[in-house]
Symmetry: C2
Subunit: 332 residues, 2 copies
Amino acid sequence: MNVTLKDVAERAGVSRSAVSRTFTEGASVSEKTRRKVQKAADELGYRPNALASSLTTGRTKLIGLISNNFHNPIFLEVFDLFTRGLQDRGLRPLLVNLSGETEPESSVQLLRQYSVDGVIVASSTLSPDFARAFRDARMPVVHSFGRFSASPEVHIVGIDNVECGRMAARTLLGRGYRKLAFLGGPESATSTQDRLSGYLEVLSSQPDVTVTHSFASAYSFDAGRVEMTKLLMTDPAEAYFCGDDVLSIGALSAVGSAGLSVPGDIGLIGLNDMEMARWENINLTTIHQPIRQIIDSSIDLVVRMLDEPYGYPETRLFPCRIIERGTLRQAV
Amino acid sequence: MNVTLKDVAERAGVSRSAVSRTFTEGASVSEKTRRKVQKAADELGYRPNALASSLTTGRTKLIGLISNNFHNPIFLEVFDLFTRGLQDRGLRPLLVNLSGETEPESSVQLLRQYSVDGVIVASSTLSPDFARAFRDARMPVVHSFGRFSASPEVHIVGIDNVECGRMAARTLLGRGYRKLAFLGGPESATSTQDRLSGYLEVLSSQPDVTVTHSFASAYSFDAGRVEMTKLLMTDPAEAYFCGDDVLSIGALSAVGSAGLSVPGDIGLIGLNDMEMARWENINLTTIHQPIRQIIDSSIDLVVRMLDEPYGYPETRLFPCRIIERGTLRQAV
DNA sequence: GATCAATTTGCAACCGGTTGCAAAAATATC
DNA sequence: GATATTTTTGCAACCGGTTGCAAATTGATC
């Protein structure tokens, strides 16, 4: 059916090994036979079968890219950057959509069956168990957007969510807001937990400041809108730190629907700085998360692990910064 | 390193074939040996290597999912549905990001190297050459969101873009708009060409109606905004049919920034009905494209081709419908 | 041109599975 | 219990590659 090594070998009048070697980086072939083989291969349209060779080399160049986050538009940017970054390094992303799954077991099996060279867990809402399960199965794994830890069990690349919480708190204080709140994502997401804890850490020591918090059911527009609508019905805060941009945009919409204005009546600050945050009809003040750096760095780590699978797990954190737009009032 | 067939066979005290057969649907094994093998396999944590078996069976259960559309949020929904749908049928998506590529050749080679069982081209902005190239390489292929043709060369699943253009035209006429325009995506996208042609077809026969058109450089917020900003500087139309929701949202933002109101000063109608279109701060009147049906149907087709690779190419079109929201004035 | 070292080559075994075939075992028939 | 039939089993070859090793070739040196 397809053109194989053997066909090329016969046509070129050499052994199969010779053909294999011409297509193997750094193997010993004379210029003469390499030319003969190239010619035959070109004429037949031969491409080596990556899966067959993986059997002996142990390398598939497949990287499992697993996520559960298919409703937050920032993840389109994330997938774009991951797929391009992997392709640029000659790797192929095998996408696994984990929506709804809570047990890592089946995805581990799946990716083991396909002998992926490594795994990237891309989500802040997936439990650390997932990354750990891959490590236990002895697959190179990086948890992107995972929770910072001083003694990580697997490679973690992301941001310091606690510090982001502090940053948001300081910013809001600086603008003279005193009645504050946090509108988080799902309570089970480590990112939400950490952002809240940093937020509270700064605010709880402040006199005259009150702070409340609540959680949306997901990092999504609808969840943010629903939750904010509820909040607006009883004594809302002056300003909200929302655990994510898409939540903020949902909240923004709820505020508008309630006939209130931003930042006139209520201040909002998000987190991520997704493309949409700078759309003029949204214009969200937010904390920029450097996703390009996070993703590049994640890929570098996973690539490094291909050669040194048992390195010491590492945490890589990237600094965030406030992006000033139009959803907070100026300092008073 | 990993547990193989041989290990299980030895532990169970049977031949390798017996083990292979217990893991092969419909193979002949007695209940007794099956149990022995199961036990040994469980104890060792054995999983068959999907790639090794693909060598003899010729099936990898890998499906190439190729797209170039990583900036239009609707594609996050598209990826979500495709990955879930494929997984539910035991298939694995190998994602290929074609941003910037114009030649199909390299992606064909790539997917051939990985022996994918089939390919889904998911984009309305990719040239039909891509799908055709896969067909020529004798891979089962479906072009989702591709251009309708009465004599298709490959399977096409999508909508009748010409009819959508007509639908938009009739709707705008019905609202009493007389000075109309089309704001399309890239002129090279077949979807834009077709939508425009249906639009013009209806409008050109109307007395007292003027119609103009222009093209944004991409199906993206920024491109829509830029183009609309330009249009607003000289004699804008009363209403615009935008070739896509995300373009509409960009246009909406431009109108707002110019100090004009929608639908007071300018009417807008989009196409897709992406999640975001129903956000309250956008509330876009649009034409609903049934992406769930398109995707399910595409997957069904590709699955069918696994068994019957050389069927007659088929076009499957799904009807669209107007979703009434707040960016068009009521009939006058 | 002979000798030795370095390079290139093909053989054959292997990677982890599947499968046609014939032999062995189990079951059915009388 | 002998024979015929069906089912189960293992052998061995194969899928499309890679690679260690020894033999063959090439090139260097004198």
